[in-house]
Symmetry: C2
């Protein structure tokens, strides 16, 4: 399909996310409950269900976007939501395993405005918790996928994990390098975000019993959405309101080479040269530096270009959908991906 599909959600994406949480959370909680302590307790804290001591303390938790993609992809392929639950839970577990490990690697101390696992229990326990969630995800997927597609689903999930590892490696090392191109940046973001979103959609299709070509199309759809999501994240990381986004530090303060920055640096403009000088410095960025860098990126066209690319990837994602009627939820989520402030 090559037609440009217009984005017109039939119901608010927040409702789809809320519905997904209701559908998916019982199996997620059950999987966590089966872990030995203290892994169980640390996991419940990380998911925002409990406080540090394991007492119920409903806090803010993840958006459940990836499980919603899995359930919506299953619907888009003619399946029933219930069949998508094990895959949705497995994808959410993998996402959180990588978040917990990423927080260790990046030294991030806050997530959803709460101290990260490693800051409370230490690096060894955070590494172990990530490892255990990875194990739970794999076990659950193979055991509970319907239609005998557990093995196929696992192969997709573990391939996504390997891509995630590659992307995170490039992200860790690209932060200090100066010669990153737009293609490098896109490749990194495909690994960090695209691979698992592609997998989330492909597993939804598998859960619906879809044919291989449809599963592959949904994988491509999820990858395009993943890139659009990541580009939007990059915009929020520079121009978002920290109070709304939950990101306390501007990406610029950390000299992160996200897509708007790389696009600006590659623009061969006078602004690119000045931005390169600011990014090349070694002193901590002052608020004036940060404001100036944001201005330069915008003047060099990095902001507009990234926004246009995000829209382009959304269009590419929608072109992969098998049937616009059953794909209403997936279209609504696509709309959410680029129209959000957190």
């Amino acid at each position: 399909m090559t037609a440009v599909v217009s984005v017109s959600p039939t119901q608010p994406p927040t409702e789809i996310l809320a519905r997904t949480r209701k559908l998916v959370e019982p199996m997620l909680r059950e999987a966590i409950a089966a872990l030995p302590d203290p892994l169980r307790r640390m996991a419940g804290y990380h998911f925002g269900w409990w406080d540090v001591r394991g007492n119920p303390a409903p806090g803010e938790s993840g958006k459940m976007l990836r499980p919603a993609l899995t359930v919506s992809a299953c619907l888009a392929c003619g399946g029933v939501p219930e069949d998508a639950v094990p895959a949705a839970v497995a994808v959410e577990l993998i996402h959180n395993f990588t978040l917990i490990h990423d927080d260790v690697m990046d030294g991030d101390t806050l997530r959803h405005a709460r101290p990260t696992v490693w800051t409370i229990w230490g690096i060894p326990d955070a590494v172990l918790l990530g490892d255990a969630l990875h194990a739970v995800a794999a076990e659950l997927l193979v055991r509970a996928m319907p239609h005998g597609v557990g093995a196929q689903a696992l192969q997709r999930l573990e391939s996504a994990v390997i891509e995630l590892c590659r992307g995170q490696h490039e992200d860790c090392h690209g932060q200090s390098g100066s010669g990153a191109t737009i293609a490098d940046c896109e490749r990194m973001e495909m690994g960090k975000t695209g691979a698992l979103m592609g997998c989330a959609c492909a597993l939804g299709a598998l859960a619906a019993g879809a044919a291989p070509a449809t599963v592959a199309a949904l994988d491509r759809c999820g990858r395009e959405l993943g890139l659009a999501f990541q580009f939007t994240d990059d915009l929020i990381g520079i121009w978002g309101d920290p109070l709304v986004s939950g990101k306390p530090t501007s990406d610029l303060a950390r000299r992160k080479r996200s897509m708007p920055v790389v696009a600006a640096l590659c623009s061969q403009t006078a602004q690119a040269a000045e931005l390169a000088r600011i990014y090349g410095g070694r002193d901590p960025m002052s608020p004036t530096d940060i404001a100036r860098a944001a201005e330069l990126i915008e003047e060099a066209g990095g902001r507009n270009w990234t926004q246009r690319q995000a829209d382009r990837h959304i269009q590419a994602a929608l072109c992969e959908l098998p049937d616009a009627r059953t794909a209403a939820d997936l279209i609504a989520l696509a709309c959410l991906v680029t129209h959000r402030n957190r």
Copy 2:
């Protein structure tokens, strides 16, 4: 079976290990070769195949004990060695993923007399490499296990990973605690070593198409061997020759609460009290302290007791074997487990 089986190997265990390496290494190398760089290069270095730059540099690598258990368990259940290869490779990958993460957590700088992965590539890349090897193991097992038992095998493998995480957590935290009992120590060592050796044997049985009761018996057999292996490791960690064992630092220098130490501390002797004082100190252990601690552990009976327990677990392992004739290799490996110096 309750009869005491005598240990009389028909061929040297070193030959079994060499034969296993020849059988298993091609698939292991193939699995690693499929990783994206630099994960591939880091893995080849860790396995002792390549130097830091990726040039062939045959160094010392692991013993291949766990893959040998898998292949021998398959033989013991009437299977052919080739059927056990995917499971043997998966178990070896999981073992190495946990070693790489453990080295990060424990801050260990040497393994097989070579710098550990994290000391060369940094903690983030070492965490990512472990994560990727975990993914490769799961994918390979589900794809390549014969007789349609991939899902069952994966469930056993991931349960073992969760037990490993629990055991490693207890090991990290037990190092500083003072009230550890023999039961605590055995539970920790079952998690750290018994679970994966049990899994290695159970997967060999599954690869042979064994009945559930036999698979369960082989799991128990491997767990008993694992405890015997770990107890022997604990003895080597105190009384072994560092030049032979490849362990540069005595476990006593790190105030490790391994089984001989815990057994001595629990002995209610005068030696236990003196040992507790030495272990309770905060200054680095002097060579005199280390020598005195080893003496006290021996006088309190900790060395003899641990050796007797290792022998007892070997006997318990052998009692689980289905058929002494097909189990010759497994019996030979059991002999190796307690009669070794590295």
